[in-house]
Amino acid sequence: MKPSTERKREGSPWTGLWAVVGKEMADHLTSARMQILEALIVLTAGGTVYAAIQNLKTTIGQDRFIFLKLFTTAKDPLPAFVGFLGFLVPLIAIALAFDTINGEFNRRTMSRLLAQPIYRDALLLGKFLGGLFTQALVYAAIWLLIIGLGLIGLGVPPNGEEVIRMVWLLLATIVYGGIWQALAMIFSIKFRQPATAALSALAMWLFFLVFWDMLVGILAQVISPVRYGLPEEQIRFIQTGLALSRISPNTLYTEIIVALTQPAVRSLGLVLPSQWQGAILGTPLPWEQSVMLIWPHLTGLIAATLLLFAAAYVMFQRREVRA
């Protein structure tokens, strides 16, 4: 008997992937945890959109993009639906993933699972995709609900431009959910206790939601200080602040929402008066141009998700099976 010189492992790493995805989705969609969150997001969507319709009814016919306003119109005391999305999406993503790996260890199903003819790759990716598809399903349902409410409440159909923008917004929301899911997954590999993993993921979420913007102001002042009040200094200060702020996925997602739901927005950064030359202010951009505007944001979110997933993958591959 000789040691095999072949270093490569045999068989596809994706064997059993769809079995895992199916199991995960079935689990998520029937779990009490997910049902509570679904109820929450349906109530939010229903409430905010109903309030928005009350407001928008008066302006039907004056606005080309009235359906997009369903997402962004706030009526006191309710904020706009997109405002809710910014923090509900991470919450759902974290709820789906915080016990995905340590839960298997705690239930003692991990060794039995890995003794089946599948690679760990399939298990991890299957769990990630299962969660992501669940999110996609939930958000798509919410989108359809909002459009349905809009059709009834406003009495006009959305135009093609609006539909395309809403689809892009849906895609961006799923990607935004993906990054938080990957993060929660890392914690679920790192920590044995699901409670620790959940709290760590929620701490990250709170950090980016609340504290990062405060820190950005301080950090930008340190990195690019405004000493003499020169315009160059001020521009540099603002740009540093913007760059730092965009480390947060929340900022990226908020900017994506702005660009997609407000076609008149032409830039997400600092614009100098010289750059406005020749522009007709207030005219909407076609959706292709708005998508160009958010393209770096979208790729940034996807890249961060892939990096987080890769980190989770490396950690999980190195993890010993015995508990």
């Binding site: 000789k2 095999s4 270093r7 492992r9 059993g16 039995r112 003794a115 003819p117 690679y119 010993e320």
Partner: protein, 317 residues
């Protein structure tokens, strides 16, 4: 099946940092055999099992299971080998049948085939009546049986079990041992690790003693008895008559190594072979009245305890 061993390892070694969990393991398990891995906790039994399944990578050495390399061809190995971990867990919120369906899907079984196998496995372990109950309501014994059903789904050629009888009540353990014998009867090779020595002795064809990551002794139970105790037979006899004279007569038999008197009119004779006729003759010749005579093969318990006392003793000196 060919003559090649079903499980074979050469110089298999696993290190966790400085700690050597398994050292230079050379093991051969033949087709259709029940092989028992014995040893104290932390002696490397579970690590060995995980390496055989490709669940942990050996630091050095080679393993072959059914001719496949578990490190490079784990899917081939895991498709043919059933593994019952020491603490088997299921998804509590799913029913017994749903849990098995998931296993069947992971094994890539087509649906009708999976259903047939699941029915068969559930019936075999006696769970068909609770098949549609949630596993959360199951007792420990029922989970254990479901664990066995879970392995049977893939129709394995080899079954590897880690501490399979731990925590079972006597009735459950008996049924389980019966089931294992049945599986052996179907030609399945079984490797198990255990602490419960009398059960191991009952069902294992051969056993291996582990100590601190090394496989020290391998063989059938009588073989180990001879190796460890130096004398494989212990004859107990009850006889009336002069104790001194009887003991003297028994000691005089060639092949007897020791004679003890554990109580009045009872004698224990350690011998290299089965010397019952000679002992009876000696008693009668010495004027004693023979009341009882039996031979006790060395129990695995005694071998195990004696062996580990000896190695501990060696380690100290």
């Amino acid at each position: 099946m060919s003559d090649a061993p079903v499980i074979e390892t050469v110089g298999l070694t696993k290190k966790y940092g400085e700690f050597t969990a398994v050292k230079d393991l050379n093991l051969e398990v033949q087709a259709g055999e029940i092989f028992g891995l014995l040893g104290p906790n932390g002696s490397g039994k579970t690590t060995t099992i995980l390496m055989l399944l490709g669940l942990t990578e050996p630091t050095r050495g080679v393993a072959r299971v059914l001719g496949f390399d578990p490190t490079r061809q784990p899917l081939q190995v895991k498709a043919r080998v059933g593994y019952l971990p020491d603490q088997v867990g299921f998804y509590d919120e799913l029913t017994a049948r749903e849990n098995l369906i998931y296993t069947a899907k992971l094994n890539g079984l087509p649906r009708p085939e999976a259903h047939a196998r699941i029915e068969e496995a559930l019936e075999r372990v006696g769970l068909q009546e609770v098949a549609d109950k949630r596993v959360g309501t199951f007792s420990f014994g029922m989970r254990h049986r479901l664990g066995v059903a879970d392995i049977l789904i893939k129709r394995p050629q080899v079954i590897i079990m880690d501490e399979p009888t731990q925590g079972l009540d006597p009735q459950g353990a008996r049924e389980f041992l019966h089931l294992i014998r049945g599986l052996k009867g179907e030609g399945i090779t079984i490797l198990l690790s255990s602490h419960l020595l009398h059960q191991v002795q009952e069902i294992c064809d051969r056993v291996g003693l582990f100590h601190r990551g090394t496989l020290r002794l391998v063989g059938t139970v009588p073989e180990l008895g001879r190796k460890v105790l130096g004398k494989a037979y212990r004859i107990r006899l009850q006889a009336q008559g002069d104790p001194e004279a009887l003991a003297e007569a028994l000691r005089a038999i060639p092949g007897v190594t020791e004679v003890r008197m554990p109580g009045a009119e009872s004698y224990e004779v350690d011998a290299e072979e089965d010397l019952r006729p000679e002992a009876a003759e000696a008693v009668v010749r010495a004027g004693g009245r023979l009341m009882g005579l039996e031979v006790e093969t060395q129990s695995l318990d005694v071998i195990y305890n004696r062996y580990f006392q000896e190695v501990e003793h060696e380690a100290i000196h």
